[in-house]
Amino acid sequence: MSVSDNIIEISAMNFSREDRIIYNDINLNVPRGKVTAIMGPSGIGKTTLLRLIGGQITPSSGSIKFNDQELVNIDRKSLFKARRKMGMLFQSGAMFTELSVFDNVAFPIREHTKLPESIIRKIVLMKLEAVGLRGAADLFPSELSGGMARRAALARAIALDPDLIMYDEPFTGQDPISMGVIVRLIRELNDALGVTSIVVSHDVDEVLSIADYVYIVANKTVIASGTPEELRQETAPQIVQFMQGRPDGPVPFHFPSDDYKKELFNHGN
């Protein structure tokens, strides 16, 4: 079996939630070993896309392949096996509050391997060193700042040396310094560990600075894709609006509504 160049292949996928269509016939490939960014305005279901890849929710139709293995309608055991090859960094970090940072990072290793405690200790300290938090091993998640919690969660996500790391809005709510740290970490981990990264974000500048390939998702499908350079050259008004952050354009400033004057003055009828 030849390993294809794409670690994730999504083809002709539809997904809707309570009659509302989120994705309509979307196609998206994630090349192996690269940092791939998925961008788009808030509320279009970027996080949903990560959950679809992680198999937490099932699409209405279409196919999602991870390492050439179909994830749609797969049995739970194989799905869990596939997930051991994925790491996910949640927006909130999702640290287990009752465990220390060390135990948080050790948790997936203890659950999935039978390694002796002395080796687990070494692995955990290495992972923490990679994110610069070896000194914080004995702290509890409540004692960490937001940026540190996210880095600790990153150490946990890479604990089992996954093939794929998914970052859900890693830059949201970070101060410039920790934002810079996370940007650097994503790039460094990707290159040093030889993993594939998917970054979901709407922070245009940060994403463009690290991504090898970018998908812009809007209107339930991919509206543009390419390297950061290609996207900067793009002239389609919708993409220009998003890339430059203009308030009005093809994506309207106003939520769809009746005529303004009509609604103001016809009041009372």
């Binding site: 959950r51 997930r83 949640f90 927006q91 909130s92 999702a94 509050t97 997936p108 999935h112």
Partner: protein, 260 residues
């Protein structure tokens, strides 16, 4: 108007049925053997501490006071018939058949049930459950199952402690304060309390309450809308629904056990 209210009724009953279905799936998923038995033991011990040990104080104090009040009230009524010798019987039967299982279950729902709902709701809101899923660990096995077993083990023990402490409280007031003969207190009690009829039936009640309360609490947390408002709503509805379920089931069980 009529049509829309009928529609509303239909929608509500459908959502109740869907909720029951999700609750059933949750329990089945949690109780399915996971093949990780040994790893779950520390989790179970931790939860026995949270659910059982931390409910101990409220159970002991309430049991003591309820036993003392029962004894005082019972004495004033029985003494009118010159039957204060039967005080032990009255106190012990009330506690073993009704108050022990019911009051301890109500307290358990308020103390441990609401905490379980809030904890799991918060885990859901902070994506800890999703994060477990993504680590290829089933949160039903890791989070729900140990809490369920801890609840099912703890509540019957708490109810037994409640009844025992209540009887001691009754003895304290009846014998040590009001002067009922200690021998009569115990012997009348012993001749009227039956192991099978009273103690085992009380224990069965309390096991059933334990299953229902823990199940409701876990389901409400697991199914909560992951926002602060959703969690507070879920916590309230755990206490309300558990209490109603306890009282309703108690009537049914009493009819079945002692009715004929």
């Amino acid at each position: 108007m009529a049509i829309s209210s009928i529609q509303q009724m239909g929608r509500n009953s459908l959502s109740v049925i869907a909720g029951l279905g999700r609750a059933a799936f949750m329990l089945v998923g949690a109780l399915k053997p996971s093949g990780r038995g040994v790893k779950l033991l520390p989790l179970l011990i931790k939860q026995l501490y949270v659910v059982g040990v931390q409910s101990l104080i409220i159970i002991v104090v309430s049991g003591l006071f309820i036993g003392m009040v029962l004894s005082l009230q019972g004495y004033t009524i029985l003494v009118g018939y010159g039957a204060e010798q039967s005080l032990g019987q009255m106190v012990s039967l009330s506690l073993l058949r009704e108050l022990g299982p019911v009051v301890s279950a109500l307290l358990f729902a308020g103390r441990a049930g609401s905490a379980l709902t809030a904890e799991i709701g918060l885990m859901k809101a902070t994506e800890q459950l999703s994060s477990l899923e993504m680590m290829a660990i089933d949160p039903l096995h890791q989070i729900v199952a140990p809490r369920f077993w801890a609840g099912v083990i703890s509540l019957p023990l708490l109810a037994a402690i409640f009844s025992a402490v209540g009887i001691i409280g009754g003895h304290l007031v009846g014998v040590d304060w009001l002067g009922v003969d200690s021998g009569a207190f115990w012997s009348v009690m012993q001749s009227s309390v039956e192991w099978q009829e009273d103690i085992v039936n009380g224990a069965i009640k309390s096991i059933i309450f334990a299953i229902v309360v823990t199940w409701i609490a876990l389901h409400k947390g697991y199914d909560a809308v992951p926002t602060s408002e959703g969690i507070s709503k879920a916590t309230t509805s755990t206490v309300v629904q558990s209490s109603l379920a306890i009282l309703g089931l108690d009537f049914v069980l009493t009819v079945v056990m002692f009715g004929s």
